[in-house]
């Protein structure tokens, strides 16, 4: 089957969704399909640009393919008679983030108009799809609540798990991720002030916002954490990342209200390492079961520090929780076999 995977993009920026789109395209080819990845740039500043991007996606014509798999807003508006969605993102600023600090859109008449246009377009065009899968129960619930559309959860697997291993439980927790306010690396650094054990925090990831980078740097300096917090700011290879996972006592992953469990969580469990997350981290709670596969802390430095101490103090327990996480992932059938079968039948 000829298949186009359609995603939006911001040139020069790569994150979990881009990784997933690339992985899906490669896997479709491995499973015998002719697959292409179509990336359509998305701009949201100024907010009127959002409507431009929506219309552009609706007007593009794809090369001749048998099926389209749409992933993110607004790329999933692209027209095709045989379209299925693996919905990773709606435009949350028009939905659950409206009225919060993360609203993004102005509250003006123009902002309300954009919000309503997004909702109306979703209500109309999401129904073009023959089937809608989502990346998590959080995304499915939001789709049902705001658009009254049913969907099925299709858990996103890792592209490759063969390089993950468990070699040791050294005295550090590892937090690899894009660095931004939503991922809350600053909260991770502030937590280290309260960690009593001699362990370290290793952050890995490039900053996306110079102001946030400065806040993190300042916190490390102000709290004199230079010898306890290491920030690998340049790109690290997949193998380097796997090596850190392999030697860490556990993983810290404390984003704010993510839809999915996050690749970091999955990578940690394939390395048989427990994960510390927060009660408000969203989809991570699918895999992180408190005291079973990791720890679920309150989103404040003292609570997170207490769980880091607990993790570092008992390595045999950390090992058992990491193994439980690995067993859970295996039991949930988070595999490409399942994903490709679902998206191509």
């Amino acid at each position: 089957m000829k298949i186009a995977v359609v995603n939006n993009c911001v040139p020069f920026l790569n994150g979990g969704a881009e990784y997933l789109a690339q992985s899906l395209t490669s896997k479709l080819a491995e499973y015998g399909h002719e697959a292409i990845l179509v990336r359509i740039p998305f701009a949201w500043e100024p907010p009127e640009r959002i409507l431009d991007s929506m219309l552009a996606c609706r007007l593009f014509r794809l090369p001749k393919v048998d099926r389209v798999i749409g992933l993110k807003f607004p790329a999933y508006y692209v027209q095709h008679d045989d379209k299925v969605l693996w919905l990773l993102h709606q435009f949350r600023q028009a939905y659950d983030l409206w009225g919060t600090d993360l609203q993004g859109l102005p509250s003006s008449k123009a902002g309300v108009s954009i919000r309503d246009a997004v909702r109306a377009a979703d209500n109309l065009h999401l129904r073009d799809a023959k089937t809608i899968f989502t990346n998590s129960h959080v995304t499915s619930n939001r789709l049902k609540k705001f658009n009254d559309i049913d969907s099925q959860v299709l858990w996103p697997p890792l592209s490759d798990t063969t390089h993950f291993s468990c070699e040791a439980f050294d005295d550090f927790v590892f937090y690899p991720s894009r660095v931004n306010a939503a991922k809350r690396q600053l909260l991770a650094v502030e937590s280290m002030r309260h960690v009593k054990s001699p362990g370290r925090l290793i952050l890995a990831g490039k900053g996306e916002d110079p102001a946030e980078d400065q806040r993190i740097e300042k916190a490390i300096e102000d709290y004199r954490l230079g010898d306890r917090v290491i920030w690998e700011r340049s790109y690290i290879s997949e193998q380097s990342k796997a090596d850190y996972f392999s030697r860490a006592a556990g993983t810290l992953y404390i984003p704010y209200d993510e839809d999915s469990y996050g690749y970091v969580t999955l990578e940690s469990y394939f390395s048989k390492k427990p994960v510390i997350t927060c009660t408000d981290s969203g989809g991570t709670n699918v895999l992180v079961k408190d005291r079973e596969t990791g720890f679920v802390a309150e989103p404040n430095p003292v609570s997170i520090a207490a769980e880091i101490d607990r993790l570092l103090a008992d390595k045999s327990r950390a090992r058992a929780m990491g193994q439980s996480g690995y067993d859970l992932v295996k039991k949930m059938d988070i595999t490409w076999d399942h994903v490709i079968r679902s998206l191509t039948t």
Binding site: V38, L55, R61, L62
Partner: protein, 184 residues
């Protein structure tokens, strides 16, 4: 600087991907961050809609410079846009192509042809620089739209992924010079 190279996504013609990938490698060798963005275009589908789709895209915030290869993505908005018209790479299906132009002119809706030519004039007018390969130069694109166009000859490009390991030092030097001209 960050340079975004934009062209058509043509799964049946690997030359475009090979060309843009090789160009990106040349730009990277020249010290820039460079990325390819190949966008869908169907010459048999309505052109005006696709022209509008291209025009609605604005990549100003993502890159310092945009290099557009051929139509219709010369219409994408960027304050520092460079056009490079390469006859060897899928120029068909647009008003520049004799068959397409003839079909449009003979159609009942000649307004479409006029609108697409108007869009072309806008894209040429807002480009900071227009380059043509020798084939495109013979078609006098620059003068048709009132712009000077410098001849820029593509270096050899790899048929597959554009991986630099397959390039000779001489080929790398050619692409470095091209990168220099596109980013000067």
């Amino acid at each position: 600087m960050k340079v975004l190279v934009i062209g058509r996504l043509c799964p049946d013609n690997p030359c475009i991907a090979a060309f843009t990938n090789t160009l990106v490698v040349g730009l990277q060798n020249h010290g820039h961050a460079a990325e390819t963005l190949l966008l869908p275009f169907d010459p048999e589908a309505p052109l005006l809609e696709q022209a509008m789709a291209a025009r609605l895209l604005d990549v100003s915030g993502s890159a310092d410079r945009m290099v557009a290869i051929n139509a219709p993505f010369h219409l994408v908005q960027h304050p520092h846009k460079i056009l490079w018209l390469v006859e060897g790479l899928e120029m068909d299906g647009w008003v520049w192509d004799a068959d397409s132009a003839a079909a449009l002119r003979s159609s009942s809706d000649q307004a479409e042809f006029a609108l697409l030519e108007h869009a072309d004039r806008i894209a040429f007018a807002e480009a900071r620089h227009v380059f043509c390969d020798p084939g495109a130069a013979r078609s006098s694109f620059g003068s048709r739209y009132g712009r000077n166009a410098d001849v820029l000859v593509p270096g050899p490009y790899l048929e597959a992924a554009g991986h630099p390991s397959g390039q000779t030092e001489q080929e790398i030097a050619v692409w470095n010079e091209i990168a220099s001209q596109l980013t000067s």
